[in-house]
Amino acid sequence: MAKEEILLGNGAIALGLVEAGCQVVTSYPGTPSSEILPELIRMAKAEKLNTYVEWSTNEKVALDNAFAAAITGKRAACCMKQVGLNVAADSLMSAAYMGTVGGLVIISCDDPGPHSSQTEQDTRFMARLAKVPVLDPSTPQEAREMAVTAFGLSEEFGIPVILRPAIRVCHARQAIAFEKIETEGRKASFKKDPGRWAATPRFRLILHGELNRKLSKIAERFESLSRYNFHNLEPGKEYPFGIIAAGVPYSVVHDLLREERRKELPVLKIGTPYPFPEKLATEFMSACKRVLVLEETDTLIEYLLRDRQKVLGRLSGHVPAQGELVPEVLHKLISGALVEAGLEPVRDLDDLEASEIVKGLQLPVRKPTLCPGCPHRPAFFSIRKARPKAIFTSDIGCYTLGLNLGVVDTCLDMGSAITMASGFYHSFAQDKIDQPIVATIGDSTFFHSGTAGLINSVYNGARFILVILDNLTTAMTGMQPTPALGIRADGSPGKPVSLERVVAGCGVDYIEVLDPYDTKAMTESLKKAAEYIREPEGGIAVLIARHPCLIAYRDEAVPRKRVTITDKCVQCNFCLERFECPALYHDQALGRTAIDRQICSDCGVCLQICPKGAIEEVEAL
């Protein structure tokens, strides 16, 4: 009998991969994609499958690896977040031309909102750019089915296929029924064909032609793929208004029409936006006087519709051009479009008064902040103390929250702490201005995208301090191991890659490893490093601030020093502003700063912070 389990959308996708007999899965973590690989590992272990899995150092590395596996005839998948696909774009564009032998499925998770990303970019446009098919699921269950479909398509047409779940699929939870998984592994075999796998431009032209032919065949297939592309038109009937919906917005439309008993409204669901099932869309469009297009995150379907006169969407201003299409937004804009078409609206959502009341309450907005005991906090504290006038370039990870401490001025993309530091250096040096620069980057981000920029900085003579915030994990995305740990994705041992040696290998002569919990020593080290970078023979100074993440390593990471705040506190708020530990707060009853015992980590670092010495250790724990 089928068992039913509540799975995260990412778990449902992992299940689809396993059911499709996928033998190789590579990934770099990033919200909202991070749970796919761990869920797959959990399932593969339960089913005793010999699946090869890896946390790759970045998304391009992940895709190249998966691509190689796929052209040995195996089914391979590669999982990432949407901005990760930018990193893998070089690989994707070329892989589209070369095609594949075994199924190759790229799962790129979008983040309309954005909740945890630099941009709201739409993976479907990347699919269009690369000329590969893309499937856009509306629910976890559909994502699981589409993962299986994607492998079938990929293999039948010899082309990589993208599965594009949005965050509301990835981080939805749904009860999913499944049976025992039975898959058969394939043996790797590589047929040499340099004209294809190492094609020169002349052959690339041929491959491009092949790719175009594959796409037209797939487009034909999508016209009749009624499992994912369907409508409820009655033959010969004309409608004043219809809706084309895709992805997550489709699930909202589905629920809305059901609860409003408006199932007679024509809806075309598009699950395969590229190559676009144009005949199906034209059939739908010609039966409707006007059509509202609801898709996330951008305007792919809208662009692909021929007769845009009838279309209400982002281009006509009917749909917001940025932000997530949450149910209340869709509800209201559908209602408006119905009225515009002379039809009955859906019910009024009575939420305005409540929203006004909430606004009036002026509730405190808790901004995200580094955890109590986080080693990044004292690192930032020391950096600001030692180099108050510096430009602080930073990067992507928990430590972007150094913003709150005034020690993050820039955050462009993965690895940009280093590349922007060298850019700033040369820009000021050109004008003979001695501008201090301190770059901060996390250990995992450094392995992901740091080395090329560091080599470039050394080679071209930039001078700045680089602090690698080494918390021995990929904390932001859920504690995935880094290459330095010697632990692989499935928990098996791997060969640790020393961060110090990588930095030295990039040509850096000044490297110091220190513990950021000792703010005095770190401040001194930063000052010494600042001297080094100004010496005639100086260059880039790298400080590796190493202390384990408290969430990943729990008790091992804290010295367990219980502290208290005494009456010496003069309410100068220095600790609240410059250290910003969530366990420190202003207690109105006491009339001074106090410690929130519930969340204090007993790290004891604040002992070093108070200028009045009002924070004291109470007892050894």
Binding site: E4, H115, H171, Q174, V252, H331, D351, A354, V358
Partner: protein, 190 residues
């Protein structure tokens, strides 16, 4: 059955995700169709955390404003913040220490007008007294289940909790859940 929409909210670290998991699993055990949405990533670093849960024949994972029958808040302000989700005749269960001014004036008038019932429970204190200060989520869950009985009875939710609690936390989890259930029998516990 009609769709039941539930919004659970609080702050990062308060155990919203585990609370949602227990409730979702209890719903599945009872034979409901279950779908929901949760917050990950940046927002979990101490900020507001919201989780949506829906029982019924639905496909969207998000609850719409003016559509939730239940709002469970592990922190009072977060409860107010999510007020727009609660529909007419809905019910709110809020973890709060406040006795006199709860819910606060403007909110009280609004709730009355919309026929929304609001109950407070000192869930943090209950959990603290039982030696597990971070388990206020389970006290509130027990209280909610015992007060409502529908869509899931307290006994049913308890067996689910018993089954899915990790071994070393099982006993403490059940003790705190039971303490929440007990409070439901005491009239207005806030």
């Amino acid at each position: 059955m009609d769709t039941v929409n539930i919004v659970l909210c609080g702050l990062g670290g308060q155990g919203i995700l585990f609370m949602t998991k227990v409730l979702a699993q209890a719903g599945l055990d009872k034979g409901y169709k279950v779908i929901g949405a949760e917050t990950h990533g940046m927002a979990q670093r101490g900020g507001s955390v919201v989780s949506h849960l829906r029982f019924g024949e639905v496909e969207s994972s998000l609850v719409k404003t003016d559509s939730a029958l239940f709002l469970l808040a592990l922190e009072e302000n977060e409860g107010y913040r999510n007020l727009p989700f609660v529909s007419r005749g809905g019910r709110m269960y809020v973890n709060t220490e406040t006795r006199d001014d709860f819910p606060i004036g403007r909110v009280r008038d609004y709730l009355e007008k919309k026929g929304i019932l609001c109950r407070g429970l000192p869930a943090t204190r209950i959990a603290q007294e039982l030696g597990a200060p971070l388990s206020s989520n389970l006290a509130l869950l027990g209280f909610f289940a015992a007060m409502e009985g529908d869509p899931i009875r307290a006994g049913e939710m308890r067996s689910t909790l018993e089954r899915i609690s990790p071994g070393k936390f099982q006993e403490a989890n059940l003790r705190i859940f039971d303490a929440g259930v007990e409070r439901a029998g005491e009239g207005n516990p806030a």
